[in-house]
Amino acid sequence: MSEKVPVLELQRVDKSFGPIDVLHEVSLKVNAGEVLCLLGDNGAGKSTLIKTLAGVHKPTRGKILMDGQEVTFDGPRDAAGRGIATVHQFGGTFPLMSIGRSFFVGVEPSKGWGPFKVFDRKTANDTAVKAVQDFGITRIEDGERLVGSLSGGERQSLAIARAVHFGARVLILDEPTAALGVKQASHVLRIVNETKRRGLAVIFITHQVMHAMAVGDHFAVLIRGAIAADFRKGEKTREEITDLMAGGETMKDLEANIEGYMETHEGHPPPAKA
């Protein structure tokens, strides 16, 4: 495995905003056809890391490498041009636009010439519908439908299909299953696996360990801006991962604490902290 050149690699990346250090010596690698799960609690620096990967922020120190070559992103468009696509929690799509139009935002197909270049609606609709259907979402048949009429899982799928269609090599999924029900989430996970099968490198950000374990090949846990653990599939159990995410305080200790409290408080659990 080690001889494979990772598609995207971070080497000791720091990011600070003024005096506040948000990321500290983060090193990551993701290979083609692999899913890297980035786990972390709220406030661990996940979104800063995503934004750094997507070219929104420039690292304060450290290197970003693509295919072994050092790169600097001059903004999100540059990163996207190099094949890094980010899909956000709600699909990053536009609820009141048609599927065809939202699929091609920023890269509209056109026909005609000169000042009369017009948006090619039919091509846009047909391409968009075909792209999502290729991912197994066959319920979408009409590109004129508004994105708002899709379910949460379908929206995620549309966004992923869009990224793949436009030649993404690295797909960053920001909490794609967080707002979804069980069934919808499994749809999305299936699409993540399909994306991996097509040879993309996927960075899957989540705090749901179960979802991560369902698709991940490689895991990294982020705590207070630093990588606290880095391991491959099968090396750690679900409990161990959850404990790591909780910041070292193991779930067992926590349970023991709660039990101890309940014994001395007539079986009541401790009051929830705000």
Partner: protein
């Protein structure tokens, strides 16, 4: 059935239904002769002046912003034209370009302040609205010693911007129709329209998709300020004079027209056709009352009722559009 559904899911549906409703109301309860009304100039003149401002402001609203400084830009445009070409006697072209340049400048200020700060554009343009009123008033007094300036435009300028077709219809109507067609083409047929809708739907995603949101926002603010000063310029040429006051009515009238026309206040949804019919509806309500035997003091009540009804219809139709799951089994 499918045809009706397709019609109702369009953003312009409610404005067209409102227009039909208002016309029917005036014809039945006000005794209006619709043929005579259609030939009348008053409502078309109002619609044209208002429409040229409503189009770009509507685009800004689709993009998730708003510009109320247009209220000051109309007198600013007419005063700039009149002061440069009337008071100082410079060629009319200088006055006209000066008016449009003032529009570019104020639009640029609005746009830059909106994209560089986190202040909502309503507040930014409220600031420039009041500031421009002050600038127009004090520079008029300073330069000309008065608040009203006369202007004698040459024939060609009168013909192009300020004469009455058949003695009643302002030539600005032609500009309005022309601009509506250009706007409709750009917004619904080119990629730039798609960018505006995307920006109003979700600004961050639009930026991440590579749309130059800042430049587009600034451009739209410039467009609305220039359109407003264009209307002011045409009025100065038509009436042979300009006053520092006036124009404030345009702010609310334009917003009413746009909202009746199906533009979502929070952005992301709307159409040029809708804004066009919203403007016509507004003009028909406010001018049509003079053709009825209804006391004209009621016209604002009717406008308010039409506004509320149209917004309710818009919400219903938009829901219809969002819930529409597509033509089944087309192949």
């Amino acid at each position: 059935m499918d045809l009706i559904g397709t019609f109702l899911r369009r953003p312009a549906a409610a404005s067209i239904l409102s227009l039909i409703g208002v016309l029917a109301f005036y014809a039945i309860f006000g005794g209006v002769d619709l043929g005579r009304f259609a030939a009348a100039a008053s409502w078309v003149n109002l619609a044209a002046n208002l429409g040229i401002v409503a189009l770009p402001v509507g685009l800004l609203m689709i993009a998730g912003e708003i510009d109320i400084s247009i209220g000051a830009m109309i007198p600013a445009g007419s005063m700039t034209t009149a002061i440069l070409s009337g008071y100082f006697g410079l060629p009319i072209l200088v006055g006209m370009l000066g008016a449009l340049a003032v529009g570019v400048l104020v639009g640029l200020v609005n746009g830059l302040l909106t994209v560089r700060t986190t202040v909502p554009s309503l507040i930014v343009t409220l600031g420039t609205l009041v500031a421009m009123q002050g600038i127009v008033l004090s520079s008029s007094v300073l330069l000309t010693g008065g608040v009203s300036v006369s202007l004698a435009a040459p024939d060609w300028a009168k013909f192009a911007f300020g004469h009455l077709i058949a003695g009643s219809h302002q030539v600005i109507i032609v500009w309005w129709v022309l601009l509506t067609m250009i706007f409709a083409f750009v917004v619904h047929k080119t990629r730039y329209g798609n960018w505006i809708f995307a920006m109003g739907g979700d600004k961050d995603s639009a930026r991440n998709a590579g749309i130059p949101t800042k430049r587009l926002t600034i451009g739209l603010f410039i467009l609305s300020a220039v359109c407003a000063s264009f209307v002011g310029m045409c009025q100065a040429i038509l009436f042979n004079s300009a006053q520092v006051s006036g124009g404030m009515g345009f702010i609310f009238n334009a917003i009413v027209s746009i909202v009746v026309g199906g533009v979502l206040l929070t952005g992301g949804f709307g159409s040029i056709l809708g804004i066009f019919f919203g403007t016509v509806t507004f003009a028909v309500v406010s001018q049509g009352i003079y053709f009825t035997n209804i006391d004209r003091n009621w016209s604002n009540l009717i406008i308010g009722a039409v506004l509320l009804l149209a917004v309710l219809m818009n919400n219903t139709f938009r829901k219809l559009a969002v819930n529409y799951t597509g033509a089944k089994n087309r192949n």
